[in-house]
């Protein structure tokens, strides 16, 4: 019951507002072309007719919410979930690559952060290049990566997960470098007096102190990793995955399908970010955290 009041009502209110704004936008954006059409056809529709028309174009600039909802419903619930026409299937393809990539990305990010915090040589030499690596436009590289892997016979999940990893390790690395360096000076001094080894200081002090940074970074990383997986689906020939749906949709100007795929992608994102959030809250509670 509390959940209803605390979560569902605010979310639905906000979404309702969004939907209203969306309808308005649809009129604004689809209007000019509709007017062109009517003019060429020599029609002079009434105002309401015009509204309805802007909300029911087959390939609108901005599809109306109900058009997207219909398509989403049809491709989610009215086809078998494992068929290539099902958004559930495509979402799953993307989700699996995202999760693998996110997992690797988080681990890699943490490993890099640990290295940077513990070895001056790494801090000095690696950090600038990690930053550089992130400024390489991934979409430019993604096709080459996919092509290279395909050339040596590796296709499917792995190359996509690799792109996800590439995008997601960075937020984790940056956040964890900060987090692992965030313990208070006195807490570090205490470890120093025990002559604690670097590993002990790491596990008993740096890791617990970095937890808030870790989860904030992981939320960003999971979103980035989804983007990576979708981007990586483009050069694979638009066969499976949300990226493939987006691509084929945009290739044929099927805006409604694009938006349905976008909605699916967003739902996956919400799911993933929420999962990370729940994991964060559980961890905090286990660490004796007190309500903020």
């Amino acid at each position: 019951m509390d959940r209803l009041r605390d979560k569902i009502i605010p979310v639905t209110t906000l979404l309702a507002l969004l939907v209203v704004a969306w309808y308005a936008f649809a009129v604004v954006l689809n209007g000019p072309f509709q007017r062109d059409l009517d003019r060429r056809a020599g029609e002079t529709p009434s105002y309401t007719e015009f509204l309805v028309k802007t909300w029911s174009q087959p390939k609108p600039t901005l599809p109306a919410p109900h058009q997207v909802a219909q398509n989403f419903f049809k491709t989610t619930f009215q086809v078998k979930p494992w068929s290539a026409r099902s958004l559930v299937y495509h979402s799953w393809v993307t989700l699996s690559a995202t999760m693998v990539g996110f997992l690797f990305g988080t681990v890699l990010g943490i490993v890099i952060a640990v290295g940077i915090v513990h070895f001056v040589a790494l801090d000095r030499s690696l950090m600038p290049w990690i930053i550089t690596s992130q400024t390489i436009p991934i979409l430019a590289l993604a096709p080459m990566v996919i092509v290279v892997f395909a050339a040596i016979g590796i296709t499917g999940l792995f190359p996509k997960a690799l792109i996800s990893t590439y995008l997601s390790f960075f937020p984790v690395a940056v956040g964890m470098v900060k987090g692992l360096r965030s313990p208070e000076v006195m807490h570090l001094d205490l470890m120093h007096t025990y002559n604690a080894s670097a590993a002990q200081t790491f596990w008993k002090l740096r890791v617990p102190a970095s937890i808030p940074y870790l989860f904030a970074s992981m939320k960003v990383a999971v979103a980035a990793s989804l983007v990576g997986a979708i981007v990586a689906e483009l050069p694979t020939g638009a066969i499976a995955g949300i990226g493939a749906k987006l691509l084929s949709g945009s290739y044929y100007s099927q805006t409604i399908e694009i938006w349905a795929a976008l909605v699916a992608g967003s739902l996956v994102a919400v799911l993933l970010v929420a999962l990370v959030g729940v994991a964060g809250r559980i961890t905090e509670r286990a660490m004796g955290g007190r309500e903020a």
């Binding site: 072309f33 059409l37 020939g237 638009a238």
Partner: protein, 299 residues
């Protein structure tokens, strides 16, 4: 069976119906071939894939193929299923552009990624600079669709007769609402979808034989597709193509461009010259095509 990997220039669609038909109807199998068809996508350069060893044979446009050859990827055309070009520039009739003379000072949508050469060759011929300004044309890198036309971001856009043209029609333009500049009709066409392999591999007789069989089966596929466009479209859909109606129409339109598979040397010369004129290739290409394969395959 001998393995052959074919890299397409674009996603699975009617444009490549012949290959899908040949695979589906077992024409490749009959020739003792096990063919894998890899769809492309935006920013998959088939020339790069073949240079990296990811494919044995690729479908690409001749301009892109020759330019890759100029950059050190020794591609050789072994067959030319598309005898004619399907490229067009379309403009709404109620817009400012009605003839070639009206281009000056307006914005034209062009596909890049190796597809821009015919357009630049044409502008070169018209003597129009492409850097914008009142005396030239402003070029817009066009996206996958006909939105720039609908949004009025460009005065004319590029379309393929078999694809985007119909999207414009679907979007509500009637054929009589459009001014069409067809590259073939204007004599500006450069050769489109052909089959290319690496030169040194071709020296291997076993590979050459494989290609002979491949081209033979592919052309058989194409002829079947030309005669049975509906059935061919179904096979494209099975291979991952989208939008049934659209694919049927596309196969039908593509059928009009298909020839016997042999490269017309005159068209080749024109393409090579246009590229040289624009300095897209730096030297006269040599050995960029062979008729040996088609001669053996299509007796």
């Amino acid at each position: 069976a001998d393995k052959v990997t074919l890299q397409l220039k674009w996603v699975a669609q009617g444009q490549f119906a012949g290959y899908f038909v040949a695979k589906d109807k077992g024409f490749y199998e009959e020739e003792g071939l096990d063919v894998e068809i890899k769809p492309g996508g935006p920013d998959v350069a088939p020339e790069q894939v073949i240079a990296g060893g990811g494919a044995d044979v690729i479908v690409t446009w001749m301009a892109a193929g020759l330019s890759a050859r100029d950059k050190g990827v020794p591609l050789v055309n072994i067959a030319q299923p598309f005898a004619k070009s399907g490229l067009e520039l379309i403009c709404p009739k109620d817009g400012p552009v009605k003839t070639e003379a009206d281009f000056k000072g307006h914005t034209l949508g062009v596909w890049f990624f190796g597809n821009e050469y015919p357009f630049y060759a044409w502008m070169n011929k018209l003597g129009l600079p492409t850097e914008g300004g009142p005396d030239g044309v402003t070029v817009l890198k066009q996206s996958f669709d006909v939105q720039p036309l609908i949004q009025k971001q460009a005065d004319c856009i590029s379309v393929m007769t078999y694809n985007e043209y119909w999207q414009a029609i679907d979007a509500g333009f009637k054929p009589e609402d459009l001014v069409v500049f067809n590259y073939t009709e204007l004599g500006n066409d450069l050769l489109e979808d052909g089959l290319y392999v690496l030169e040194d591999k071709l020296k291997d007789p076993a590979f050459e034989d494989k290609m002979v069989r491949f081209v033979r089966a592919s052309m058989k596929g194409w002829h079947y597709a030309v005669e049975n466009p509906e059935e061919a479209a179904g096979m494209v859909l099975d291979a991952g193509g989208q939008d049934e109606n659209h694919q049927k129409r596309m196969v039908g339109e593509v059928a009009k461009l298909i020839g016997d598979g042999k490269l017309d040397p005159a068209l080749y010369e024109r393409t090579a010259k246009a590229l040289l004129d624009q300095k897209i290739v730096t030297k006269e290409p040599e050995g960029a095509y062979t008729t040996a394969i088609t001669d053996k395959a299509l007796k």
